[in-house]
C-alpha cells in the first residue's frame, strides 16, 4: 500500500514550501509554463489594425485590442467583447453599448464610443495624414459611426452589410484603438500599440519578436499565461528542430515531417483541416482554352484523388466546390469528377484539337505545388495533352495572372485563404477582378448579379441558395478544377493547448492554455 497524504502532511508541506519561496527555491511545477513562444513564418510588421500587413499581424492584433464582439473559442460564432450589448437595429444600422470601465494600457484612459467611431471610420476614410487603410474593403459600406453618449453609438451603413458580423466586427478590422494614442504616435502606432485586450505588447524587436504580457487592466477572464512571445523564424526546418529542442512551443510544420515528429514523441502534433481553397485554374481567354470542351477535357483527364495522395499523402480532404464544408453556402451536392481519359480524348476531338495540345502550367515554387504540377502533367499526358511546368518564386508568381501577363496565362495552380464571410470568397472571381485576381479571366454577369444581391441580403437561407447557384455557375464554366481545402500541421509542446479558428490559420493566442 502506498503512502497516504494526510491533511497534517499537506499543511506541513505547504508551510515548508512557503518558507523556501523567499530564497527562490521553489519546486519547478509552480513556475513551469507561465509563458510560451509561438513561431510565425512571417515577421510581425505593423500592429496598427488599419495598416496591418498579414495574417501574422492580425493574429497578434486580436490579442492586443478588444473588438465590440469576438469570435468564440475555436469557432466562428461570436460573443460579446468590449460591447455590453450590440444589435442590428435595421438593415443600415447597428447599435452598440460599451461595457463601462474598459481601460486602455499605458495610461490612455477609458474606452469610449468616440474611440469606436475613430477606430472604425479610419478604415473607411483616409486618416489625418491622407493614408488609406489596407483593409478599406472590410468597411467599404460604412457611412459613419454616430456617438450617442460616452458609451453608446450607432454604426451607420450606406447599404446593407450583413458580412460585417463575420468578417469585420470580430476580426482585426473591428479592433478598437485609443484615439489619443493613435494621434500621439501617428505612423509609428503600429510599433507602439495601445489596446485593452487580454495581453499588452511589452517589447517589439527583430531578434526577440513581439513579447506580450498579461494585461492587468483587462476586465474579463484574464489570459492563462503571464506572457507569451511571437517569434519570426523563416526557415521551417529550424523551427522544427527548435520545437523538438523545447526552445519554442508552437509552430506550423510541413505535412511531410509529421510521421517523423510523431515517431520522436517529443512534441504533440495536430493535423487539422483548413478552409483554404486550392485549385487548378484554366484561363478562359487563352486561345488554347477558350473552347469549353477543351477545359472539360482537362477536367476529365485529372485524377484528383491521385493528386491528393501524391501531394498530401492522402491527408488533405478533397474539395469539389469553392466553399469548403463548414462554411455557410457549401454546395454539398457538387459533382465529384473522376478521371475519364476516353471522355477527355473525345472532348478534345469534338473541339477539333489536332495533334497534341501543348499548355503551360504556372505554379508557385513550393514543394506541394510542384508535386501537384508533376502529377497533373503526367495525368494530362495520358490524355494527349503536353504540359510545360513554369515554376515561379513568390514575387513573380503572384503577379503572373495580372494585367497583360495574365492574358498569356494558360493553366495555374494557386491557393487562397478563406474568409469567414462566405460571399467574400467569391469576390475574386468577379468580372472586375479580371487582370487582378480573377486569373481564369472568367466573365460571368450572372455571377456578378448574384454577388451584388447576396451582399445586401440578411436572410441566411436565401444567401446560402445564392451562394450555391454561384458555385454551380463556376462549375459550368469548367474554368476551375477544385483540388483540396488543405490541411495544416502544427507541432507544439504537450503541455500547451493551442486554439485555432476553423480556417486552420487564425491562431487565437489569447485563448492558448495549459493542458
Amino acid at each position: 500500500m502506498g503512502p497516504k497524504l494526510s491533511r497534517r502532511h499537506f499543511v506541513g508541506g505547504a508551510a515548508a514550501l512557503s518558507a523556501l519561496a523567499p530564497l527562490g527555491i521553489v519546486p519547478a511545477f509552480s513556475q513551469e509554463h507561465q509563458s510560451f513562444i509561438a513561431r510565425v513564418d512571417r515577421d510581425v510588421e505593423n500592429l496598427d489594425p488599419a495598416f496591418r500587413t498579414s495574417l501574422t499581424d492580425s493574429n497578434v492584433i486580436r490579442v492586443v485590442y478588444q473588438r465590440l464582439i469576438d469570435y468564440n473559442v475555436g469557432a466562428y460564432g461570436w460573443q460579446l467583447d468590449a460591447a455590453e450589448a450590440i444589435e442590428q437595429k435595421s438593415d443600415l444600422e447597428i447599435t452598440f453599448r460599451l461595457k463601462q470601465g474598459i481601460m486602455f494600457t499605458g495610461g490612455y484612459g477609458e474606452m469610449t464610443a468616440d474611440d469606436v467611431k475613430f477606430s472604425l471610420e479610419r478604415f473607411a476614410f483616409p486618416d489625418a495624414e491622407g493614408r488609406v487603410s489596407s483593409y478599406r474593403q472590410d468597411w467599404a459600406d460604412l457611412k459613419e459611426v454616430v456617438v450617442h453618449d460616452k458609451y453608446s453609438g450607432s454604426i451607420i451603413f450606406e447599404r446593407p452589410a450583413p458580412n460585417i458580423w463575420q468578417s469585420a466586427l470580430p476580426h482585426a478590422s473591428g479592433a478598437i484603438v485609443s484615439r489619443k494614442a493613435v494621434e500621439k504616435f501617428g505612423a509609428q502606432f503600429g510599433r507602439n500599440p495601445v489596446g485593452s485586450g487580454r495581453y499588452e505588447v511589452v517589447s517589439f524587436s527583430a531578434q526577440d519578436g513581439v513579447v506580450l504580457k498579461r494585461n492587468p487592466l483587462f476586465l474579463d477572464t484574464p489570459g492563462e499565461f503571464e506572457s507569451f512571445t511571437v517569434r519570426f523564424i523563416s526557415n521551417v526546418k529550424t523551427a522544427q528542430l527548435a520545437v523538438e529542442a523545447g526552445e519554442i512551443d508552437f509552430t506550423q510544420v510541413p505535412l511531410t515531417t509529421v510521421p517523423e515528429l510523431e515517431r520522436s514523441g517529443r512534441v504533440a502534433v495536430s493535423v487539422i483541416p483548413t478552409q483554404k481553397f486550392i485549385w487548378l485554374g484554366l484561363n478562359t481567354e487563352s486561345p488554347k482554352l477558350a473552347d469549353i470542351k477543351v477545359r472539360q477535357a482537362i477536367r476529365a483527364a485529372v485524377n484528383i484523388d491521385e493528386v491528393l495522395l501524391g501531394a498530401y499523402q492522402g491527408k488533405a480532404p478533397r474539395l469539389n466546390t469553392l466553399l469548403p464544408a463548414g462554411l455557410a453556402g457549401h454546395w454539398a451536392e457538387a459533382p465529384v469528377y473522376t478521371q475519364d481519359l476516353q471522355q477527355a480524348q473525345a472532348l478534345l476531338a469534338e473541339a477539333n484539337v489536332s495533334g497534341p495540345l501543348k499548355v503551360k502550367l504556372t505554379v508557385l515554387n513550393e514543394p506541394v505545388f510542384n508535386t501537384i504540377a508533376l502529377i497533373v502533367q503526367a495525368q494530362l499526358a495520358a490524355a494527349g495533352i503536353e504540359v510545360e511546368i513554369d515554376q515561379r518564386e513568390g514575387g513573380s508568381f503572384w503577379s503572373a495572372g495580372k494585367d497583360e501577363s495574365g492574358e498569356n496565362m494558360e493553366l495555374y495552380i494557386t491557393s487562397f485563404n478563406t474568409s469567414v464571410a462566405p460571399v467574400a470568397n467569391t469576390r475574386w472571381f468577379l468580372p472586375n477582378q479580371i487582370g487582378d485576381w480573377n486569373w481564369s479571366r472568367w466573365n460571368s454577369p450572372e455571377f456578378e448579379e448574384l454577388y451584388d444581391s447576396i451582399s445586401v441580403d440578411f436572410d441566411i437561407d436565401s444567401r446560402s441558395a445564392k451562394l450555391i447557384e454561384m458555385q454551380r455557375l463556376m462549375d459550368e464554366s469548367a474554368a476551375f478544377i477544385w483540388l483540396t481545402s488543405d490541411v495544416v500541421a502544427y507541432a507544439h509542446q504537450t503541455w500547451l493547448v493551442p486554439m485555432i479558428l476553423p480556417n486552420g490559420v487564425d491562431c487565437q493566442y489569447a485563448y492558448f492554455r495549459r493542458a
Binding site: 515577421d43 510588421e45 505593423n46 496598427d48 495598416f51 500587413t53 498579414s54 493614408r131 488609406v132 487603410s133 489596407s134 483593409y135 478599406r136 474593403q137 505612423a187 509609428q188 503600429g190 510599433r191 524587436s205 527583430a206 531578434q207 526577440d208 517569434r231 519570426f232 523564424i233 523563416s234 526557415n235 526546418k237 529550424t238 523551427a239 528542430l241 527548435a242 523538438e244 529542442a245 526552445e247 519554442i248 515561379r392 518564386e393 513568390g394 514575387g395 513573380s396 508568381f397 503572384w398 503577379s399 495580372k402 487562397f416 475574386w428 485576381w437
Partner: protein, 314 residues
Amino acid sequence: MRDFLGKIVTAIAAVLAAMLLIFLLMSVVPGDPASTLLGPQASPEFVRQYIQQMGLDQPVHVRLIRFFENLLTGNLGTDVVSGRPVWDIIVEAVPNTMLLAVSSMALACIIGIPLGVFGVMTKSPTIDAVITSLSIVFVSMPSFIVGIALLVIFSSWLNWLPVLGASADASLLDKFRAMILPTTALAIGWIGIIGRLVRSSMLEALSQNYVRTARAYGLRKSLVFYKYALRNAIIPTITVVGMGFARLIGGAVLVEVLFARQGLGTVIYDALISRNFSVLQGSIFVVVVLFVFINFITEYVFRIADPRFSKDAA
C-alpha cells in the same frame, strides 16, 4: 595623400556604380511588389498609395537621385510596411552580422593557419594528404548544409547547443552558446581556404633564396620557419582574409536565416522575398559601403605588413 584621395574617390565611385546596378536590377526583377507584399486583401487605393510611397511609379534614375539626396541628409528612407525608418532596422541588425562575421573569420584563422603550417611541417605525406583533403572538403561544403548538419547533431540529437539565436536580454554565456553553431557553419569553408593558402604560401616561401641563406647561416629551424617563412607567407592571407571578411557578410545571409538570427542577411533576405524595396535598397547600400570600406582597410593593412609594397607605392 594624393594616393589616399584617389582611393577615396575610387571607393565612392564603386558605391555609386553598385547602387546604380542594384536599382537597375530592382527595376527589372519580375513581380509586382504590392501583390507580393499585401496579397489579395489590399484595396486598389492602398496598392496605389503603396506604389507611390515606395517611389515605384518613378523612373529608375529619379529613384536613384532621390535615394542619394535623402542619403545626404542621413535618411535611408522609411519602410512603408512597418512605418519604421530603414536606418533603425539596419542599425538593429548590423551588430549581429558583424559579430557573426568577425567570430567566423577569427575561428577560420585560428584553425586554418595552424592547419596549413602543420601540413608543411609534417614529414608524413599521409598526414599532409589528409590535411589537404580535409581543406578541400571544408571549402566545398556550403555553409547552409553544414549548418543543418550541426543543428541536427548538436541541437537535436545531443541537445548540447541551442537551435536559435539568443534573445537580447540573455546572459553572456547563453549568447556565447548560441554563437557556436552559426560561427562554425560560416567558418568551415574559410578554414579550408586559409589552410590551403597558408600551405601553398609556406611552400613557396620555403623555396626562396632568403630562407636558403638563413638555413646556410645555421639559424634554428623554428626561427627560419616562423620568423622568416611564415611572416612572408602570411601576407597573401591578410588580403584574402580582408576580402573574405567582406564576402562573409554576404555568406551570413543563409546562416542567419537558418539559425534565426536577426542580422543584415535576414533583413536583406526577407526584403527580397517580400519585394520590400525601401528596406532592400537601404540594406544593400550598407553592405556595399561595408564591403568597400573593408577592402580599403585591407589594402592599408597589407601595406603595413609588407614594407616592399609601401616602398613601391612611394
